[in-house]
Every structure is written in structure tokens, then in C-alpha cells.
Symmetry: C2
Subunit: 137 residues, 2 copies
């Protein structure tokens, strides 16, 4: 008789899929925010924002341009496509819910900001709804 292991592979597959979207989500949100704050979004603004080199940003911006999330021309500011803006709004809304939820739970702002930056990408629609419900009470 061979013991069978529970089908735990689904959560891991889902987590890997979410990690694959994480960079795109953070970047479109950052571009939207930087344009709102600075009027435009330059590669170096993103590099400072994420605390990475401008080279890393430049390459990722190129990839997200290929994925139709960002507009970009050499030496020009980065902009959002229609698709990118839609994603940015959705992601920012979710991020704000997670942040508010953690603070409502009693976590200080500093730690809520740190943890929510990672947690946001792993919050599915059901969990997001539960957090919103909690916030209403």
C-alpha cells in the first residue's frame, strides 16, 4: 500500500504564476504614481523608486513595452498604454486595500507598507473581498 500525497501542487503553481506577473504589476503602478507626482516618469525615477540600477529598469521597460503595457521611445519619458493604465488602476486599488487592511488589523504603517508590497500580489479575488468586508466593519 502506497501512501498518496495530497494535491498540494496547485498552490505552488499558482504562486509561481503570480510571481511572474509581479514585476509588471509593480511597474505600471509605479509609472502611474510617478506621473501623478512628478508630471512624468523617467527611467531614473523608476530606478530610485525600486532601488535598482537604471539598467535593470531599462530592460524591464523594454519588455513591458513589448507586452503592450508601457509606451517608450529612446531617451523619452515612460508612459502607460491603455492596457497598462487599466492594470495599474486595478493593482493600485488592491494594494491600497491590503495596506489599509493590515493597518486596521493593528500593524504599524511602516511594517504595513513593507508587508503589503509583497502580499498584494498573492491576494486573490476571494481574499480581497474578505479584506474589503472586514474594512467596512
Amino acid at each position: 500500500m502506497v501512501k498518496k500525497v495530497k494535491a498540494r501542487s496547485v498552490p505552488f503553481s499558482q504562486t509561481r504564476a503570480r510571481h511572474a506577473n509581479e514585476t509588471a504589476e509593480d511597474y505600471v503602478e509605479a509609472v502611474m504614481e510617478l506621473i501623478a507626482e512628478l508630471g512624468e516618469c523617467r527611467v531614473l525615477d523608476l530606478a530610485r523608486y525600486f532601488n535598482v540600477s537604471h539598467v535593470t529598469v531599462s530592460r524591464i521597460v523594454k519588455r513591458l513595452h513589448d507586452e503592450n503595457l508601457l509606451h517608450t521611445m529612446p531617451y523619452k519619458p515612460v508612459e502607460l498604454t491603455v492596457e497598462g493604465l487599466k492594470l495599474a488602476k486595478r493593482v493600485k486599488d488592491r494594494h491600497l486595500v491590503v495596506l489599509a487592511f493590515l493597518m486596521e488589523l493593528g500593524v504599524d504603517k511602516t511594517n504595513a507598507e513593507i508587508d503589503s508590497e509583497g502580499i498584494e500580489h498573492h491576494v486573490g479575488s476571494k481574499t480581497l473581498a474578505a479584506m474589503k468586508k472586514f474594512l467596512k466593519k
Copy 2:
């Protein structure tokens, strides 16, 4: 007058650091669990568990061996070092808290299992404490 952007780089740096630990955390937890359930933990057990190829597992096991988290000899089952067991216990405890928390919040078990698999790695000590407190009430 130049507008200055808030220091948002800290959360992103922290999130990247946590992602760097994620594989190690999931693997030691998996090894502990598979040994508990099957008596031993083989490379292929881990491959099935994570839904990846045995090659991916083999390379990662080697790296975690170099980091003194796992014991491994060619063609032998994988075991935990003292350090690995300590980490596994800590990680499993945190994972269970996150899972129970999500379910207490009203998320169904299936989605709670999926989301907690990613969220766990981004839950700092403050957030973990807040979740435990919530569960006590």
C-alpha cells in the same frame, strides 16, 4: 524647486530579500512534511509536491545543501539539517497561522491554501503577531 519622491524603495528591497528566501522556506517545509507523511523524502516526491521537474529539485537541493539547510547524498533521500529543521518549524508555524487567519476571515479553504502559499513569505513579525491576536478573538 525639485519635487522629492517618498522613500518607497525600502519596501521593494525588503520584498526582493524575502523572495530570495522563499525557495529555501518552501523546501525545508516540504521536506519536513514529506518525511512526516511518507517516512522519507525523495527528489521525485519534492518534484511532485511542487509540480516541477526532478532536475529543478535536484539543483535546488544541492544549493540548499551548500547553505547547510539540507542533508543529501547521491541517490539517497533528502533530510533536514539541524538548521533546516529549525527553519522548517518556524516557516510551518507561520504558514499555519496565515492559513487559519484567512479562513477565519471568511476565505474558503481552497483559496486560503492558494493565497497563503504566497502570502506567508511576506508576513513580518508584526503582521504575524496581529494575525495571531485576531485568531484569539
